[in-house]
Symmetry: C2
């Protein structure tokens, strides 16, 4: 295909490759991101990528760096609870903007320095609030797990087709064996949006942590 003109040398760089790869991963998922497809999108030969990126694992690291680089600052105002709540919501916003971060984190631990600033910030707030080091680590894990878990396992990110499929599957269950699920199909229960449900859970977690300090 003569359509795609070869770019002059030096046009692709680690950063540019990561940007385009991040876009593909966010839009179509990590599985749909291939070295060959990425090269085609960049207008270069497949092997050109290997001049700037060591391989698929390194490409995923580059994607994380690219996605994390545009994060908003964490919240450092207010009491410890406001800081945790605000900072968790900042990260949630980042995960909504770049859903591939969740998929990437599920595949392997993310140890990029910039990505670790979330851990550092939350741990620092918890320590300053009065939690001992061990409990701070446990509380951080709770908040981290909930934030990433919600993004990974919440049905909210599903398409309308997915939601229709879910409704159909639930409607086919025998009512007498699944009475609570049947009730949850009522409009009142479905009305709750993804953000409201996320904040409900976050507030229960913060209530539970607050009880540890005041008790």
């Amino acid at each position: 295909m003569g359509k795609v003109k070869r770019q002059p040398r030096g046009t692709v760089s680690r950063e540019r490759i990561a940007q385009v790869a991040l876009r593909i991963a966010d839009e179509e998922g990590i599985d749909a991101l291939s070295m060959r497809g990425l090269a085609k999108r960049l207008g270069v030969g497949t092997m050109t990528i290997y001049g700037h990126i060591e391989g698929r694992d390194d490409l995923l690291d580059a994607i994380v760096d690219c996605a994390v680089s545009e994060r908003e600052p964490f919240v450092s105002d207010g009491d410890w609870r406001q800081q945790l709540r605000g900072s968790v919501l900042v990260v949630r916003k980042g995960l909504l903007r770049h859903p591939s971060l969740v998929e990437l984190r599920a595949r392997r631990p993310v140890l990029r320095p910039e990505a670790l600033r979330f851990s550092e910030h939350l741990l620092g707030v918890l320590r300053a609030a009065g939690f001992e080091p061990t409990e701070s680590a446990q509380a951080f894990r709770l908040l981290f797990t909930y934030t990433f878990g919600y993004a990974a396992f919440s049905p909210a990110e599903a398409t309308e087709a997915d939601r229709a499929e879910a409704r159909a599957a639930l409607a086919e269950l025998p009512r007498d064996e699944y009475p609570a699920l049947a009730e949850s199909l009522q409009p009142a229960s479905e009305a709750m949006g993804g953000e409201a449900a996320f904040e409900y859970g976050l507030d229960r977690i913060l209530d539970g942590l607050a009880a540890r300090l005041s008790g």
Copy 2:
């Protein structure tokens, strides 16, 4: 290779295929499970599988059914809090035994009737405890998200090599920029095992939910 003897007809069935596939998925991950590799393990031609399973998606459904079928019964004794706590721990045990369930759920919603009994049970306990339908759905999502999120994102399931890599990466961070993470490298903070941390978080969530009923 004449080593692998052909099995007589009818030896493979949907159940047997699912059992072997589940084993591979649990041990090596969903990505390592291939139709070709599975067929080789079963001692049949690749296309024989397609006589019993519609395709890869159907294979994953069959795996879920197989893994869920051996779950322990949920806890129905005690007050609502004991029932929630006990039932969540039953599911956590199942996820530890079959880690591929977590990977599968992360890829797409699981709508198999037996798998939905977890939702049904927890929703029923929450309704009986006095939560309204909408709040029951939110509280269930919180518990579900935490349980699956912990299995997906907790570093506990990592190998010793992974943990060493994590320690090395953390040790290389500039101490003055990551003081709280540096502190968390101390032995006292690392001593907490995966189960203790899971139950810590679960208890904070239950505290937060209890506060909603008593407040």
